[in-house]
Symmetry: C2
Subunit: 344 residues, 2 copies
């Protein structure tokens, strides 16, 4: 029997596993600190396609095919696919996963979508709704700038609080088949709105949601920072991280020694200045797939709270003066050998 914990969390009695994961990334990401860990990178950020959007779809498809290959299963063995991206009407996903012909649920959680997808994959697998689920998310610098900001050819100056959208896609096969990484539980996020309106300072917009989900995870599960080897946020960046530390401190916790942000990990701040760090649906997904999961698999990290964060906005809501609320979903990942007695 799965355990519903506190107000927002589930701890799985019988845990699903991340059976396999795959990452596909662009040229700037390939040159960064995680470059050597990605499964596939392309020096051509259009991935052989005619448009940025088609390139993003191609990345998703390649990430899915790679993850399926690593799991040694075929697409038709996957019961449900949960996927999303940042583009309007999630078109990168629809046109990307179409060829796989897997029954699918389209998602939108901005840059938190990898957490949303993993939560739903884990919930569906643990409930016995199928042997394998597939979660996939992506983002692309070219398509995101066009969607949310200015045409690239306009060469606008980016404010220092801006983040650099990661070109990449991560895919995850989740199932009840044993692997090195368990999904022990999930904490589903609420929308958190501190009234900020600056879409070029997304770290500040998302930090309150990250805090809310992390604290909720601690309280729902009766744990604290010491119970995790790492607390990994998606793409708060440098500004968002400092706000997160302050907000979490205000709740009586100190996570500074345990925190890692994917947006601060994927690019080298000295040689690849992105201003406030990386961002995008793909940022947390490829960092998880290429860098975080192997460390859990090897046992270097026994338990990780993965908390991708999203800024809920569109150009229309922004232009109409609406605020930019945030959302964050927490996924508790555990090394497979953690004894039952020590699990949460």
């Amino acid at each position: 029997m799965d355990q519903v914990r506190g107000s927002q969390s589930i701890v799985f009695a019988e845990t699903p596993y991340i059976v396999s994961a795959a990452s596909v990334a662009g040229s700037k990401e390939a040159e960064g600190p995680l470059g050597k860990f990605f499964d596939m990178t392309s020096q051509d950020d259009q991935f052989g396609e005619k448009t940025w959007e088609e390139a993003e779809s191609t990345m998703q498809k390649e990430a899915c095919v790679l993850a399926l290959g690593k799991a040694r299963i075929k697409a038709k063995e996957v019961r449900f696919l949960f996927g999303g991206d940042l583009l309007r009407q999630g078109i990168a996903t629809s046109l990307g996963v179409e060829a796989l012909q897997i029954p699918m649920f389209g998602l939108f959680g901005a840059c938190s979508t990898s957490g949303e997808a993993l939560a739903l994959c884990a919930m569906s697998a643990a409930a016995g709704y199928g042997k394998y689920m597939l979660g996939v998310t992506s983002s692309h610098f070219g398509s995101a700038e066009k969607e949310f900001r200015f045409p690239l050819g306009y060469a606008n100056q980016r404010p220092l609080s801006a983040q650099w959208t990661v070109t990449g896609s991560g895919a995850f096969v989740v199932g009840m088949r044993e692997s090195g990484v368990k999904i022990r539980g999930v904490t589903v996020g609420k929308i958190v709105d501190y009234g900020l309106k600056d879409s070029q300072n997304m770290g500040a917009c998302m930090a309150p949601a990250a805090m809310d989900t992390i604290i909720r995870n601690f309280e729902d599960l009766g744990v604290g920072p010491d119970d995790y080897d790492r607390i990994v946020t998606g793409d708060l960046g440098y500004i968002g991280q400092s706000i997160l530390f302050d907000l979490v401190k205000g709740k009586g916790y100190d996570i500074r020694k345990k925190h890692l942000d994917c947006g601060m990990t994927i690019f080298d701040q000295e040689t690849q200045d992105t201003h406030s760090g990386g961002s995008g649906c793909g940022c947390a997904a490829v960092t998880l797939a290429s860098f975080v999961l192997p460390k859990i698999e090897s046992g270097e990290w026994k338990r990780v709270l993965f908390v991708p964060t999203g800024a809920l906005m569109s150009t229309v809501s922004y232009n109409e003066g609406a605020s930019v609320p945030g959302i964050a979903h927490g996924i508790v990942l555990e090394h497979n050998d953690v004894p039952e007695s020590e699990t949460l």
Copy 2:
């Protein structure tokens, strides 16, 4: 134990129920055949707000509050909310349900989203992940025309194949608490692409997906048209319906006597000419809430296959020449008194 059936379906051993449903609609819908059945309508299609987008958010919030009230539960008793709309980055939902502070999963399935939401609500409730789930979707004529077609002030001429986006929102409380309507099972749809590219003929784009999901439901569950009192599609409209009949006939089934399309039901074709019928995320949702569910609750219809359909496109994909694939999700609804022996 839930029964995974065929390649895309689930039949719940212990069925969740639609505990309550609510519908909110605009002025044109109020004047239509279903006008008297809606819980709330407004003569002001801006619902007292400054923009179409805010109006859509307000409809979603009102529909949720009405559904919660009918179920006599508070928002904090709802474990998870599953919601979505047609706007870019699902902003009507994010800003609409924000005030409810329910942990949430954002969805995108175009006009199939009400089916996607009901499927995930039912799957989560049946798995024991919480006592109550809340599903909500919406669309708004003003925001949709702006998002997908032309500014209203441009007064463009609509082709005869075009459909009229419904201004409305439907919300559904789903849980293991007995009511008049069971969710017996679900058939999760795949993306179906016949290569059509005309975004002003969405019925044609969606009909193949409706056929695929209906046939899959028949084959996965070992049933046929005779096992249903009605097969209710979301918004195929007049053109989509005739294509659906042909496609289904090609598979050896005749559903003509059982079929009802929400987009052909919500407006009066003689006095409210919409060209090919109603459409939008809200179309199937408010028709289900106001018209279909009461007939199941009363026992007039014992079993209904609800199949909302979506056209997966954006203005960007359209302008870049991509096709418009479709997706449809099937929800098997049953009158509560259908004996166990006669269920699927």
